[in-house]
Symmetry: C2
Subunit: 243 residues, 2 copies
């Protein structure tokens, strides 16, 4: 049985195992899944609205984001993707993509053929279940975002977003200094939160003035995690992670 932690698909396999026990044999199939590894520069498109790829892409390292463009040309970021997430499950089951996926920083992407993944799911009940679980986690996350965008005011909305980002970062790798990488422009944060870049700027300054966050170059430090979560109304339960 191969259980090498340095397998590029390790994050994916780990996250698939969160909610479902996967047998050693199936785990081994996962470790031996044939894939092709590519590097994408920051800002590259992985998937475009309307695409219908015949393979699945897994985010191995880096951070990507999913967005939609309205008829008026306004952009809404609908998800942030962390290492381990499968980026185009939709095309495996339904049809063309309804959203774009773009890298936020340089990303390694593993490409797996639909055929290989379909066969795996057909052969292993537990792996199919695990993929479904990962999809449900994304759905749960989407619902919390709707609450965030629809019913929280700007300041709180940003605080909540920072909490989610920090929490998900920690799930991937515990950072020593409590400084979380937040490699987004204020424009991108605005697009994620339904606000303008200008307003993001002002509220970020507010949060810093209140001592809720400390701003560093392309990241934030959170001096008092509990206080920030209270302001944000953040409860990690919706992420369905175990850490």
């Amino acid at each position: 049985m191969n259980t090498a932690k340095d397998n590029p698909l390790a994050h994916m396999i780990e996250s698939l195992s969160i909610h479902n026990a996967i047998s050693d044999k199936d785990l081994d199939s996962l470790y031996h899944l044939p894939y092709h590894l590519d590097y994408f520069e920051s800002g590259s498109y992985i998937l475009r609205d309307g695409d219908m790829p015949d393979q699945c892409r897994v985010l191995v390292s880096g951070i990507a984001y999913r967005h939609k463009i309205s008829a008026m040309g306004l952009r809404q970021i609908v998800a942030i993707h962390m290492p381990g997430e499968i980026l185009d499950l939709q095309q495996l089951y339904i049809d063309i993509s309804d959203s774009n996926v773009q890298t936020l920083i340089g990303c390694e992407i593993a490409t797996i053929s639909h055929a290989a993944l379909r066969q795996l799911v057909a052969e292993s009940y537990s792996i199919g279940n695990a993929i479904v679980a990962s999809m449900l986690m994304e759905l749960s996350s989407a619902r919390e975002w709707m609450l965030n965008i629809g019913r929280r005011e700007g300041r709180t909305r940003i605080a909540h977003f920072i909490c989610e980002f920090a929490y998900k970062s920690n799930a991937i790798e515990s950072l020593a200094g409590q400084v979380y990488n937040l490699p987004m422009t204020q424009e991108q944060m605005g697009d994620a939160l339904g606000l303008t870049a200008v307003h993001i700027n002002r509220m970020l300054k507010d949060l810093a003035r209140e001592g809720l966050i400390v701003r560093v170059k392309h990241g934030v430090a959170i001096p008092d995690w509990k206080r920030l979560t209270q302001v944000a109304g953040f409860n990690s339960r919706y992420l369905h992670l175990k850490n």
Copy 2:
């Protein structure tokens, strides 16, 4: 082979068949799925945040909505459920519910045990796929809602919501008179769209004044479907329905 159209689960079976070919044998299993039928008054809770039911509920008739409550007590409606939709798939695969589901009008609900559904999925690859496809449709819908709430202004947002409602209603049953049932209070519409009931009222009046909609008791008529979709920036593609 049983293919009775009046089987209470007919809508569910039909919607499961949209994206996946299901064999006659599996269709028969679906038709003979053991269930228990209940009636819920308008306003009843089907599922509560934190619940962990050991059965799945399928909406047979009526309309239900899913919502979350923020720490400040504000409500955000995150989905409208139409007949045929499975309401608590999440608990089948992950854990406790992260949202509430409540009936909008009187609803018939079929209850199916997790055990029965799990067995069915384990035995039929195509039924598992179909359930996954239905989940992906919900995810796609959630993403469009985020775009709607985050990036469209009030008037357009409401127009888009009305389009979606009408379109989904039509998918269930073609109405003769083009009058779509919209059995929501303005407060509920506000909670769905991240607006106040007062503002919903004003914008609804605006849309009516412009001739984009005609307001009837608990519904709307749409004189010019194409014009409304243009104003709303509505494109049915994200719903992944076939009609």
